[in-house]
Amino acid sequence: MDLNALKYAKSHEWISAQGQTATVGITDFAVHQLTDLVHIELPRIGRTVRQGEAFGEVESVKAVSDLYSPAAGEIVAVNDALADDLAVLSDDPFGKGWMIKLKLADPSLPGLLDRAAYEALCADESEHA
């Protein structure tokens, strides 16, 4: 996965567009921040989401975090394998750890960060943590 080819949301999701559809997951930075994930809730196929709307959540022992959709669209696939083994998410967040696939409402992916801007955001958040 070429991380420079992805787009990022400020809430630490990544998105990779392939024409009309896109794959969504969370970044290695997010996985690291959340520590010891224990459970994930993903949506049903067929649901439509707005940009910035929560599509699911991840749970660690002492925290719960919403997962926000970086783009608007209809959910056409869900990575059910994550529910059985969250280690996949920690080991390969940009690959086998993908979460949903979207049929995009707007394939131009507006309002997201590129890799450089996202890395700057992470650096900034680490400093203030």
Binding site: D36, V38, H39, E59, V61, K62, L86
Partner: protein
């Protein structure tokens, strides 16, 4: 000496054919059960319970009890929990025949003693809160919150107002937003000020005609009395909203100041905290609420009323307020716990109750001072009944976290303080010594902390060392939960 054999899982102590309790033979004319109940309804097998003798059961649970820390055995300075001594007279008197075995549907004239106690409890809580109308009904503090919010909702509905928002500071207990959401309100969390207090500008910015209730704990979760509480209440009242006081920290202000006097419209008491419930390893509690007169008609049912004037009718009766929101639970309330609170208040009286808060505040300030060199308290020079110290300095300098100190304290024979709450203090250690601890205990505790922060950090990461088990693997427990005993798992 612990008997670990007896502390094995209950199911592994069982032996087929053993009995712990037998019942007399039936004395009514014998008929087969199948003649009484349709066969299709009858279970084909016996209940799958373990078979144990009475001594097995006693030895098992008595040994399990020794695996706990408790107020009866240890100093337990758990912040926001008010772990004070639980007087033994309460246990004996709450079990008196006539109290412990009274059916909740007993007619009022045959329950006059109980109703007299409950009526007096209502009166005492009204006086302590400065709020005249009391319901003893809610089962615990969180249910008190939910009840009061539904009272507020009914009141606004009645006035034809559509108010949808409940506001609370970021430092609020999790029950505040959870109760508000359950009651159907939208939750608005307010950022606190740099001093750990309510930020008036932030509050003002979120107020409009949809604001229903502002929920606030006072003293707050940092152990500080909100100095602007009067203004906060005025601001809220000016937009037509109500102020809810979370009574979790009442132990600081008994007889000193009253929620009704500083602008509260509604509040709950935690009888299991402030009035020595006891805590029962997680419950039962009791969460009576007190409200202003204009909210009295909406209180949940039933409440106890006293008949005025001369009458041959019984003095006390259960009544339903005219616009009552209804019931929040079955029956009257958690009477067993309310009784203990009543016994406590009758033992102390006004002067004794004020002395509780004075000594709770003195103990907390003393402990805060004793620890200030190693665990400074970032907010406030003085505290009320509890304070939130920070282990940030010792963590930066030596890599020792609040959790390390908490766990190591167990080795020294002290229960840990509350850690990592509230979130506004990094490496928070929230300590509430209560009034029922001696200076000697506080000194010994402070000495232990001074020793701990000088210990080898690596050793501390692995603490506790003296308990029967060390830090549990929470991640494993949550990923693949094992929530019951299975034969194969042993």
């Amino acid at each position: 000496m612990r008997n670990l054999l007896a502390a094995k899982p209950l199911f592994e102590l069982a032996h087929a054919g053993r009995r712990g309790c037998t019942f007399p033979a039936s004395d009514v004319p014998e008929r087969s059960i199948e003649a009484l109940v349709p066969k299709s309804q009858i279970s084909a097998s016996l209940p799958e319970l373990p078979e144990l003798a009475e001594p097995d059961v006693i030895r098992h649970f008595v040994n399990l009890s020794t695996l706990n820390m408790s107020v009866d055995t240890h100093f337990y300075p758990l912040g926001s929990c008010t772990m004070k001594y639980n007087p033994k007279r309460h246990e004996r008197l709450a079990r008196l025949p006539g109290l412990v075995d009274l059916h909740p549907y007993q007619v009022d004239e045959a329950a006059q003693g109980m109703l007299a106690i409950l009526f007096e409890m209502q009166e005492m809580l009204a006086e302590i809160s400065g709020l005249p109308a009391v319901s003893l009904h809610p089962a615990a503090g969180a249910q008190g919150e939910l009840t009061a919010l539904l009272v507020a909702a009914a009141y606004f509905r009645d006035k034809g107002q559509h108010r949808t928002k409940v506001l609370f500071p970021a430092s609020a207990h999790g029950t505040n937003p959870a109760s508000a959401a359950l009651a159907g309100f939208e939750c608005v969390q307010l950022k606190g000020s740099a001093h750990g207090l309510v930020d008036l500008e932030e509050l003002n910015a979120h107020l409009d005609e949809t604001a229903a209730v502002f929920m606030i704990t006072n003293p707050n979760t940092l152990g500080l009395f909100e100095p602007e509480i009067g203004r906060i209440a005025r601001i809220m009242h000016d937009v037509g909203g109500l102020v809810y006081i979370d009574g979790a920290n009442m132990n600081a202000i008994l007889g000193i100041t009253r929620p009704g006097d500083f602008g509260g419209d509604m509040m709950h008491f935690n009888v299991h905290k402030t009035f020595t419930g006891p805590h029962g390893a997680g419950g039962p509690g009791a969460g009576p609420i007190a409200v202003r007169d204009f909210l009295a008609d909406y209180l949940p049912a039933p409440v106890v009323a006293r008949r005025g004037g001369a009458s041959d009718k019984p003095a006390y009766r259960l009544t339903v307020p005219s616009k009552s929101i209804g019931r929040m639970r079955t029956f009257f309330g958690n009477v067993g716990i309310l009784l203990r609170g009543y016994l406590y208040l009758r033992t102390l009286g006004a002067e004794g109750l004020k002395a509780v808060s004075e000594n709770a505040v003195l103990n907390a300030n003393y402990l805060m001072t004793r620890l200030s060199d190693v665990l400074p308290t970032p907010h406030g020079k003085r505290c009320m009944h509890e304070f939130v110290a920070s282990a940030r300095a010792v963590q930066k300098e030596r890599g020792i976290s609040a959790m390390d100190i908490a766990k190591r304290l167990l080795d020294y024979g002290f229960h840990a303080p509350t850690v990592y709450f509230p979130l506004v203090v990094p490496e928070a250690m929230m300590m509430e010594p209560t009034e029922t601890e001696s200076k000697e205990t506080l000194d010994a505790f402070a000495d232990a902390i001074h020793k701990i922060v000088a210990e080898d950090p690596k050793f501390l990461h692995e603490a506790p060392h003296s308990t029967l088990v060390s830090r549990p693997d929470d991640v494993q427990a949550a990923r693949k939960p094992i929530l019951k005993w299975e034969p194969s798992a042993s």
